[in-house]
Symmetry: C2
Subunit: 115 residues, 2 copies
DNA sequence: CCTTCAAGTCTGCAATCCAGACGTTATGAC
DNA sequence: GTCATAACGTCTGGATTGCAGACTTGAAGG
């Protein structure tokens, strides 16, 4: 199981990259911003393998971006913390850049956040 | 060798995640923004494996973020394209969030961009 | 021609990924 | 209460990806 050892590099980009430089972490956060909270919900929406999801959820909890409610037991919800909500502008910038540069002219990027 | 198949998801975050959801890609772009241009320079600064660097440079060229000069042959420089320069605000937001949330109170984040 | 350096390539091994099966505990229907 | 179902993981085996470090190749300098 993949675990999280936070970076101690003095460069903030390097620290962020250790956490955010992972496809699943970015997609899980995206879906969490869009309202996903439960384990099965992430599995269904992302098509992620269950073991991979388990490890990413653990990483995000260790990093303080998700809180498990309840902390033990089944049927938990994964709730975004303030620290995670502070990431919204990063995602917004990323979505803006992506919409401008990763889509062909005849393609319409979906809005983010959705709504 | 890891190759780049761009995402065709309609969600811009999903497309960006395919490209930027990789620790090395983020760090290579960071160093390129800070002036790195040559293969050995990235190896020395990042401690990245040469094969891994080769694959990431190929991905960044396919994605249109780096241009190889000259296109063939040895002793090349890797130059950021306009598309890559447009990513600077994403890195700035990311560095701001990281500085605010990934550093303890008694730690001083290095500035980014450096200077 | 000989050396050095830049820019990869190759090899072998370790970590990670995924599909899919399985286990366990809550929850709701009756 | 008890039975069925759903939620939340764990486990296994095989494929893919990753890395360290040695090797290769071509250009430049002397």
């Amino acid at each position: 199981m993949k675990t999280y050892r936070p970076s101690r590099a003095p460069c903030p980009v390097a620290r962020a990259a250790r956490l955010l430089g992972d496809r699943w972490v970015l997609l899980i956060l995206r879906d969490a911003f869009l309202g996903a909270e439960r384990f099965e919900e992430f599995v269904d929406r992302l098509g992620i393998n269950r073991a991979a999801l388990t490890s990413r959820l653990a990483i995000l909890q260790e990093a303080g971006l998700l809180r498990r409610d309840p902390p033990e037991g089944k049927r938990a919800r994964y709730i975004l913390t303030d620290k995670a909500h502070a990431l919204v502008p990063v995602f917004t910038e990323m979505a803006g850049w992506s919409s401008a540069h990763l889509f062909a002219e005849d393609e319409a990027p979906a809005r983010w956040p959705a709504g």
